[in-house]
Subunit: 197 residues, 2 copies
């Protein structure tokens, strides 16, 4: 097991613990202790607690969230079915246990935005990219004749993302994947309304 392995393993476990306890609730030394290693290893790879949080956002959360939207950016298909497929994919993931832990990005946004400007900007960047990706896909869809011309793509981009995050929030407090899925279904019918008849 080489050094990058250890770093990756630490990061993964930090990610999981942050999702459960929040960043402020993260006890980094306990996490590594549970892994069978010590603070020596931890502070060898990360200068301080903040660096752990940043690495989790940049190296785990960001690529995971942007994967779908990078694909979307490449596509010239009708964006409406594409977006709906993504919502279906999120619904599939949404077990009670998963939803109960909340959306990792949303969790951090809520907790850290007012506390740390650096964290906030990193997360805002991810969210902006998602919105822009959706908006751009809708604009391409307009040109290709899939999407109604009067649609405000920017506004839909915001609303789309917000609805997903809000649904995670509801699912979290309800401990209910079903509540999340119900909202995804409604969001899909909302998207249908954007399609050119």
């Amino acid at each position: 097991m080489n050094s990058t392995d250890t770093r990756e393993r630490i990061l993964q476990n930090m990610f999981l613990d942050i999702r459960k306890h929040g960043f402020q609730g993260l006890r980094a030394d306990k996490v590594v202790a549970d892994m069978g290693i010590t603070k020596g290893a931890l502070y060898h790879y990360f200068g301080n607690k903040q660096a752990i949080g940043k690495a989790v956002i940049d190296e785990i959360i960001r690529p995971n969230y942007l994967a779908f939207y990078h694909e979307l950016d490449q596509s010239n298909d009708n964006p409406i079915p594409r977006l709906k497929e993504h919502l279906d994919y999120l619904s599939e993931q949404a077990t009670d246990e998963d939803v109960t832990l909340g959306c990792p990005l949303n969790n951090l946004v809520q907790e850290m935005s007012p506390l740390d400007e650096d964290f906030r900007l990193r997360m805002k960047n991810i969210i902006d990219l998602i919105q822009q990706s959706v908006a751009a896909a809708l604009e391409r869809g307009k040109k290709a004749g899939f999407v109604r011309a009067e649609v405000d793509s920017q506004a839909i981009g915001r609303f789309f993302f917000s609805s997903i995050e809000g649904s995670y929030s509801l699912g979290k407090v309800s401990k209910s994947g079903a509540a999340f899925k119900s909202n995804m279904e409604l969001l899909k019918t909302f998207l249908d309304g954007l399609e050119k008849p």
Copy 2:
């Protein structure tokens, strides 16, 4: 200044600090120190930190959030304009500064749901009441001929609340009241689609 005043003042300041720093980030002794009083007063009124959180939820957040929906429960008007008016009201409140601090309920939901089952259930109760209130209003609206018969009132109740919370989330990370308002406008047009033509 009588005793209840002091208790109320403590609670208000705790509410504000929790909104900024989260419950885990709350430094109760610092808050009272900034008020010019000491831990003696604090622990005279509240047994421990948990009790502060519960009192904030029950005595500040809950009545504040339920006020509109209690009114809604009483009304037999067309619920669609009513709900839209509420969204307008939320939009008016939504300055950049306000949105940046986030929705107090959503903040706590995100932070505390996985950490404290008692907190979670108190918050879930508030949210359930909101959803039920919206759903019941839509059902009355159906009977009175305002609302399309095929509307799934329960699902709309969930989606309505989730959209608002998600919009606060977006506004918070963006530090933008405008983003929140944009979403409220979209949610209003969504509500319009539920009305009987």
